[in-house]
């Protein structure tokens, strides 16, 4: 079903810890939105408040424009897939699928038809007579998803559904899930800590940390234009390189200088006083021709072999930064020249982690 979800100033604390702080979030109909964040950031609590299993201290949960705070979980018309799947162990798969339908008064032929259709869509036809306790992890996950989808929920909520599965199974399940979402025009809220998963599947991502949403945007937005240091470091694999830098002013012009690069002129950027850091993704640290403008020499300390690419860890002042190159081009111990991709450098204010991307720059040797 295509429904809209809005969270307004949702707040919840547990015994003096503020788990969720004044959270605002809107999910559009038919959208696949991931709620992404590390453990303990409050995403599960937020999910619990959306379902109604936990009551917020303040704030509102709205479905299709209607405030549902007072509506019990049974009646909200949401579908929740638990992290441990919670398949009814003593019931058969068929009974699991029928459960939600019977609870809503759907019985007989219609119930059987819908169950059969959903079982087929998720590849469960041969398992219909098996007991819940006899299934393996990925079968349980399919049952958990099927029994929820068969009831046509307004919004499908998934709580870290892939974390119990082997890596090999995850990839195929990702595509299946996306396919089903498109076929059913289902609004999906996907809670996870795996950023690559969220990036791959979502229309939009909401990155969360310490009870608050740091940034909401499309995968592109989040990746290329992170607004806080947390988002910048959390997204992307390998993670963004963060190095110290200095703001240099000469007259009316401002520039930034790092251990190996700079000054990079900062045009059209409001930069104030205070210490800053420079962030640049490993993919944006490029191999250059020694001596070319913007190129600096450095030594490769060690190489990570990831098969399709190699990650070089090179000296950069008092630390190492990472850069991504094609396999077998560089060995450890070699000296290479690196340059920073124009337009892909981020200035991070140390005081509050606010990030600004340096759109234009003029590299000066």
């Amino acid at each position: 079903m295509r429904s809209r979800l809005e969270l307004r100033r949702l707040t919840k604390s547990f015994e003096q810890t503020l788990a969720v702080k004044q959270l605002d979030l809107a999910i559009m109909p038919n959208e696949f939105l991931s709620l992404l964040g590390p453990s303990g950031c409050g995403k599960s609590t937020t999910l619990a408040m959306i379902t109604g299993l936990v009551e917020p201290d303040s704030g509102e949960v709205c479905i299709d424009g209607r405030v549902v705070n007072a509506v019990p979980p049974q009646k909200r018309g949401l579908g929740l897939v638990f992290q441990d799947y919670a398949v009814f162990s003593r019931l058969t798969v068929r009974q699991n699928l029928n459960f939600g339908l019977e609870a809503r008064g759907v019985s007989g032929r219609e119930r059987d038809a819908r169950t059969a259709a959903m079982a087929e869509r998720l590849g469960l036809q041969t398992l219909l007579a098996s007991r819940g306790s006899a299934l393996n992890m990925s079968e349980m996950q399919r049952v958990a998803i099927a029994r929820v989808l068969v009831t046509n929920p307004r919004i499908l909520l998934l709580d870290e559904p892939m974390s119990n599965l082997d890596a090999s199974v995850r990839a195929s399940l990702r595509t299946e899930l996306k396919q089903i979402q498109h076929e059913l025009n289902q609004t999906v809220l996907y809670v996870t800590h795996d950023q690559s998963e969220a990036m791959a599947m979502s229309d939009r991502l909401a990155v969360m940390d310490a009870g608050a949403i740091q940034q909401i945007g499309s995968p592109d937005d989040i990746y290329h234009r992170p607004r806080t240091r947390f988002v910048a470091e959390f997204i992307g694999d390998p993670p963004m390189n963060i190095v110290p830098c200095e703001i240099v002013r000469s007259g009316s012009a401002t520039a930034v200088r790092t251990a190996l690069h700079g000054p990079i002129a900062l045009e059209e950027l409001e930069v104030d006083v205070g210490p800053h850091l420079l962030g640049v993704r490993p993919h944006d640290v490029l191999m250059a021709v020694p001596g070319a403008p913007g190129a600096a020499m450095t030594r490769v300390r060690f190489v990570e072999n990831l098969g399709a690419k190699h990650v070089l860890h090179v000296d950069y002042g008092d630390r190492l930064i990472a850069t991504v190159v094609a396999p077998n081009t560089v060995q450890a111990g070699e000296d290479i020249a690196i340059a920073l991709q124009p337009g892909a450098v981020h200035l991070i204010r140390e005081s509050d982690g606010l990030v600004q991307r340096v759109e234009r720059q003029k590299a000066m040797a």
Binding site: G52, L53, V54, E55, P72, P73
Partner: protein
Amino acid sequence: MADGLVTRRQSRWVVILKRVTVVIAMLISFFPIFWLISTAFKPFDEWASWPPVWVSGHPTLQNFRIVFFPEAAREFAAAEKGSLDYKVSGSAWKAFGDSALIASLATAFSISFGTLAAYSIARFATGGPNFPFQFLTVRMMPPIAVVVPIVALFAVLRLSDTYFGMILAYTAFTLPFSIWMIRSFIEEIPSELEGVAMVHGASRAKAFLTVTLPLVRGGVLATALFVFILNWSEFLFALVLTSGRILTVTLQVANYVSASSGKLYGVQAAMGTVSTIPVIVFGYLIQKHLVRGLTFGAVKR
């Protein structure tokens, strides 16, 4: 710990109704005991009055004196002669003494042999997988069915109405409990611990005594108290296997009822109250393990 069955929002009336039901259950649980204790303190004229006296206005210790001191009993019989006759000549001290002796010794034997057997079964699966079930089958047999031949056997062996006979019988019938309960405790301790001790040169026996036994000490103690309760509360065997020389508290309670056509309410109640105190005390001490014991270790809390 709220269950999904308990939804977050319960109306106050539902909560009140729930609590009231619990209180009613508590009252029902307590009521017969309350009546017993209350009657124990009632003077003679309040024993069978109508309407009945719920809480005596003139509580007295007379009933307890009659139970424990034969002189008080004789005075009482003399004073109320004609209205009741009872042949309960032995004072309750003998009953408590005999019960304590028999129950303690039977418990000691049961626990000792039971621990040995439990260790053997737990660690070596002695006798195969079905061996422990013979003990369970023993429990299924109605004691009355077993007691008839035992009476015959004891008659031949001159064990009737002897301490040894009683202790033997009690030990045998609590062994299943001892073995099953202690086995379940031992199974909770990984056998690797004993292996470590043996690697360091200890013999099997030493390993068991120094490593495992201290760890299951609590469980064994709980089992001992449990078995003691069973022995103390036992009635049928005492009824059938004794003929006057031995007296247990359960027999004494029954004697008051039968000897006086059940009319000695106050005295009955006094005896009942005092005799059940050890069971209540021990019972609460091992509260956590009661379920394990009564279900043969099948269910653990």
